[in-house]
Amino acid sequence: MKPRALWVGLLFAFNGCASGGGEGATAGWASKVPWIGEKSGEATMLAGVKPGPYEPSSLAVGEEKDLARHRGEALGFVRAPVLEQHLAELRASLVQASRKTGVPGRVVILASASYDAFSTPDGNVYVSMGLVSALESDDEVAAVVAHELSHVLLKHHTSDVLADMEKRGQALYELGLDAKTQFTGTQAGKGDTRNLLAIQAATEATDKVMLPAWGRGQERDADRLGVDLLVESGHSAPAMISMLEKLQAWETANAQAEQDFWERMKQASQRNLNETVGVLYQKVTQSTSDAHPKTAERMEDTARYLERHYGNRDLAEPKADAWTSAKSRPEVAQVLQNYKQAFAARRLLEEGKAQDAYTAARTAATGRTANDAYPNWILSRSAIAVGRQNEAIDALRRAVGSAEPVAVVYEDLILVNEREGRVPVALDWADRASQVFAGAPRWTPHKIRLLRKTGRIIEANTLALNCSVSTPDLKRQCQEANQTPAGQTRR
């Protein structure tokens, strides 16, 4: 029963921290987070940030390695030197305003049509092309960067340690249970199963419920510190709210994806949980679902913060000129336009309009983006759809050779070779992808599956074991891959 008590205890301990604005976060690693909650309403967030050298996060893997890993997680990076320089200057002004020195990282543009931005412990800030295109002033762009930089300055990434530790704990418990069952030749007992269920419940709850709750506090604090940084760097602080208004509009336009998520959550909780923990979990899930982070609430909180701390100041007017000017420079405008075409091509392809997709993709892979991975990947896909195999192969070749590789290109190459029976070639592409993307774990299930198909069972087992413990998020995929029927050993 110990595990249940421990995990349920953790569950409520962290729930308390999240809802209490973090004042209760005093134990161990959490005490290092410079959290300022509602109770310290008189001070700005910036007042809580100690001036001086930035202390690197213990979770940092290195700026370049971090970039390589994230390059492999989405659809690649967009290279637009003028925009990147502009973003770097904005970031520098915000770092200076923080009074911290030696803050690592840079701002990178992701080849994605969504409205998205996130940061990592290495200080890198990733902003999607969709968001870059939608923002209308230097101040709104600065607001995005300020928000993400605030996560870095406040060391918010540390909270991911909790989820990771829990998942690793669960993975180890399951592995231990497997070993016990195999060793004794008996089925797991009722007690074992209950413990496992409790751990799974707590892990899932932390991941889906508590961390988002904790995350709401983080988002609020990042918005607030972001406002401070905007004010101190001479930007227009209300841009934080106008930026959030755009995000809200995007959320409204894409509400279906969010509804689908909560529907999946509901089904999962009904399927997996039937004990006390499960009932509690379902209740918490429901209440958290009802109080799911709402951008409107963030806007209200930011407005109150602005009024409370800067209500008597003459705030700077938003300045659109520099951003508009940067975006309208021919070399930037072409990149923006071509990626817009590439995103449109992808949408058309998904709608079954192959010829229109092909036409758009042809335009996307021209000029400054003629050798970019994403437009060429879309061109390759749409060329196949209209029966232009040779053009598809040429486009895929350009995509692979791009200075900014895209993970999906490697996935296509792995799957095509595997489907056509060239398993060793597919495995070679999986190995290459793993190298190109700095060992990003998404390639591990591919490698396990392909190793088994080539008869290399021991290597596959070792990888699967390592995957279960070190990357619990991928545990299920790795285990499924390790169920692949074994092929003949090839030497």
Binding site: L59, R69, H70, E73, A74, L75, S112, A113, S114, Y115, D116, A117, F118, S119, T120, Y126, S128, A134, V144, H147, E148, H151, H156, H157, D160, D164, K208, P212, G215, Q218, S236, P238, S242, L247, A249, W250, E251, T252, A253, N254, A257, M299, E300, T302, A303, R304, L306, E307, E317, F343, R346, R347, E350, A407, V408, A440, R442, T471, D473, L474
Partner: protein
């Protein structure tokens, strides 16, 4: 050429984001002359942009013209956003969650 009345081109304040929203004279000095209370705010106030400043908007309260801080109020101004076509891909591609925080708009990533 159709000439539209000024009201047709304007918008409305639909909610207050703070408990109290100050009302100002719309002149250069922006002198404070009153307040709107969120608790008693009902309906929508006709509003318009202010020339030369996007920090304020002009509102009509009981027939009088005042200015309010734009960030302190919610309006029904239309903000368009494209339908995201990459969401599913990011969801699938985001496999290593550890060490990156939820970001600005990570709604469909989970």
């Amino acid at each position: 050429v159709t000439v539209r009345p000024a009201e047709a081109a304007s918008f409305n304040v639909t909610a207050l984001r703070t408990e109290r929203v100050d009302l100002y004279e719309c002149g250069a000095e922006k002198k404070k002359i009153g307040q709107l209370a969120r608790a008693t705010f009902t309906g929508a106030l006709p509003a318009a942009t202010v020339d030369g400043s996007s920090l304020y908007i002009q509102v009509n309260v009981n027939g009088g013209q005042y200015c309010v801080k734009a960030f302190a109020v919610q309006t029904d101004k239309e903000i368009t956003a494209p339908k995201d076509v990459e969401c599913g891909t990011i969801l699938a591609g985001k496999q290593e969650k550890t060490s990156s925080t939820r970001g600005i708009g990570e709604g469909c990533k989970r």
